[in-house]
C-alpha cells in the first residue's frame, strides 16, 4: 500500500511538471504556427486571437437513436482542422457514439437511426459518401490496442495492401515511415516479422496508430486510446498526438481530465447525449460558462 501511494504521488508530480512544460511550449508554438498557417490557408484572421478556420467536420442537429433510446440529442459542433478536439463527460453520455458517427462505424450496429448531418469538408458523410471511402479518410484508434494477429510489418502494410499497393519497396518505405512517425521504429525494427501480439501494450497502441497512418487519413479518431496503458506509454501517446496534429485532425475521447487539458485545443463536454459546452480547452478548464461543466471538471460528479 505504502509503495503504491508513493508511486502515485511521484507520478502526479511528473505529470504536473510535464503538463507545465507542454502547455508552455504549446502556447508559444501555437501562437506562431496557427497564425501563419491559417493566414495562408484562408486569409482570415481576426483580431481577438481567435483563428477562424474552415471546419474539418461540421455537424448539424445530429440525433441518434439506439432503438427507442435517444443517445445523441441535437448535436451541432464544428471540428477544426489540424487541431485536437477532446470529448469529455461521464460514462455512457454518448462520447463514443458521437465519435463513431464521424466515420460511420455505427453502421456496423443494428437498430441505429441517425438524423441530421455530418459533413466532412462540406460533404455529407451519410448522404453523399460511401462508408469505405470515408473510413480511409477518417481512421480510428480504439481503447484496447487491437493489432491483428499478424507480424508488425503486415499490420502496418495492411491498409496499403487492401488499397492495392503490392510493390515490396513501396510497402517497405511506408512501414518504415509510419513506424518512425509514431516513434517506435528504432525499438522494433529488428522484430518487424515477429507477431505484433508480442509487443507491450504501449507499443501495440502506437503500432495501431502507425497502421492507421499508413493509409494517409486526414482525421484520426481516438476512443480513450490511453485508458488501457501505463503512465509512461500514456505520455508517449499524448506527445505523439500533439505531433500528429500538425498533419492530421484529431478527435479524442478521454476520461482523463488532465489529458484533455494537456493536449487538446478545444473541448466538448457531453452529458446525457447532449453537448453542454464546447469551447477552447482553456476556457472550459479555466473559465467554464455552464455550472455542470464546472462541477464535472472540478470532479464533483462523473
Amino acid at each position: 500500500m505504502k509503495h503504491a501511494d508513493n508511486t502515485v504521488r511521484k507520478w502526479d508530480e511528473y505529470m504536473i511538471q510535464d503538463a507545465i512544460n507542454i502547455i508552455d511550449s504549446q502556447l508559444a508554438h501555437s501562437a506562431e504556427t496557427n497564425r501563419s498557417q491559417s493566414e495562408e490557408d484562408t486569409g482570415i484572421y481576426n483580431k481577438s486571437e481567435n483563428v477562424i478556420k474552415i471546419p474539418k467536420f461540421s455537424v448539424n442537429d445530429l440525433n441518434l437513436h439506439y432503438g427507442s433510446f435517444h443517445a445523441l440529442k441535437d448535436i451541432s459542433i464544428n471540428v477544426d482542422k489540424n487541431s485536437i478536439t477532446a470529448l469529455i463527460g461521464p460514462s455512457g453520455c454518448g462520447k463514443s457514439t458521437f465519435l463513431k458517427t464521424l466515420n460511420r462505424m455505427n453502421d456496423l450496429e443494428t437498430g441505429v437511426a441517425i438524423d441530421g448531418s455530418v459533413r466532412l469538408d462540406g460533404t455529407d458523410v451519410y448522404k453523399d459518401m460511401n462508408a469505405i471511402a470515408l473510413r480511409q479518410r477518417v481512421g480510428m484508434v480504439f481503447q484496447q490496442p487491437n493489432p491483428f494477429p499478424k507480424s508488425v510489418y503486415d499490420n502496418v502494410a495492411y491498409g496499403p495492401r487492401i488499397r492495392g499497393i503490392k510493390k515490396r519497396s513501396e510497402l517497405n518505405e511506408i512501414v518504415e515511415r509510419c513506424l518512425t512517425e509514431v516513434g517506435i521504429w528504432s525499438e522494433i525494427k529488428d522484430r518487424l516479422f515477429k507477431s505484433a501480439l508480442g509487443l507491450s501494450g504501449g507499443q501495440q497502441q502506437r503500432l495501431c496508430i502507425a497502421r492507421t497512418l499508413a493509409v494517409a487519413p486526414e482525421v484520426i479518431l481516438m476512443d480513450e486510446p490511453t485508458s488501457a496503458l501505463d503512465p509512461i506509454s500514456t505520455m508517449k501517446i499524448e506527445d505523439l498526438a500533439m505531433k500528429l496534429k500538425e498533419k492530421y485532425t484529431i478527435v479524442i475521447v478521454t476520461h482523463n481530465m488532465q489529458q484533455a487539458n494537456r493536449i487538446s485545443d478545444k473541448t466538448a463536454f457531453f452529458l446525457l447525449g447532449e453537448i453542454i459546452e464546447y469551447d477552447t480547452t482553456n476556457n472550459i478548464f479555466l473559465n467554464p460558462k455552464n455550472k455542470k461543466t464546472e462541477e464535472y471538471i472540478s470532479g464533483r460528479f462523473g
Binding site: 480511409q136 481512421g139 480504439f142 491483428f148 499478424k150 495492411y158 515477429k194 505484433a196 501480439l197
Partner: protein, 304 residues
Amino acid sequence: MQQNNSSKHSSGDMRIGMALAADRVMTGVFYLVAGFFLVLLFAFAGYIIIKGFAGAKLYMFAFAKGGIGNQFFNTVYLVFLALLISVPIGILSGVYMAEYAKPGRVTHFLRIAIETLSSLPSIVVGLFGYLVFIVLTHAQWNLFSGALAVSILSLPLISTTTEDALRSLPESYKKGSLGMGATLRQTIVTVLLPAAAPRIITGVILAAGRGFGEAAALLYTAGMSTDINWTVWNIASPTCALNPFRPGETLSLAIWGARTEALSADSAEIANLSSAVLMIMVLTFSILAHTLEGRIKKKMGDTK
C-alpha cells in the same frame, strides 16, 4: 487488504482452509479422470496394434490382392477427395453463417438443416449416396461417390467449426480492419480467416478422422472391391490408382468384409492387421494435426 476483524479471523481462516482442501480434492479427481482416459486410450490402441501385427504375415502388406496395401491407399485417397469437396464448401458456409447471415427465419432454418445433417446416421447417407450417385447416374461403385457421401458427413462439422472459430475472434479485429476502410470481404479473407485458421484446421482434422473410420456410408458407394494395377498411370483406366471413378474398398470396409464374409482362411488376421493400420493412421494424423495447429498458433503473425 485485511478487512476481517479479529473475531471473524479464525472462521475466515477455516473457510479458506476448506476451500483449499476442496480444491486439492477436485484437482485429484480431475487428474484421476484424465488418467483413466489416457490409460483407456493406450490400452485400447496398444491391444489393437499389437494383436494386429502379431498375426500379420509379410504378404498381407502387399499392394495387391491378398494384402491390404490397396485398401490403405484407397482410404487415404478417398479422404483426400472428400476433403477437397467439403473443405471449401464447409468454410464458405461457415463464413456465411458467421458473417453474412442476418438473424431471421431463413438463417434459423439453415441452422436446423446443418444440425440435422451433422446427426444423420451414416448408413442413411450411404443409401442416399447409393440412390443418387450410383443408381441415378447408372455408375458402378466408385471412390468419388464414396467421397461425396463422406463429404455430406463432414460438411456440417467443418461449417460449424468455421462459424464458431470466426465468432470467437475478438470483435476488435473486425472493427480495426473495417475502421481502416477495408470491405467486409477483405476483412474476412485477410484478417478473420487467418486468425481463425488454427481452429478451422482442427475441425478439418476431426472431419478427416471421421472419413478414415467411415464404413456404412461407403458400403453402397465406394464399394467392397478394389483392383489396382500399379503399372497403369492412365487416369481414365479402371485399374489406375488415381482414377476416382473406380471401385475402392477402404480399410474399414475391409475389416467389415473380412469379419462378416470370411472368404479366406486368414480373414481374421487381415481384419486385425487392418484395424492396427487404421489405428496407427488415425493416431499419426491426430498427433501431426495437433503439432501443426500448435505451430500455427505459436507462429501466428510471424511471417516472412
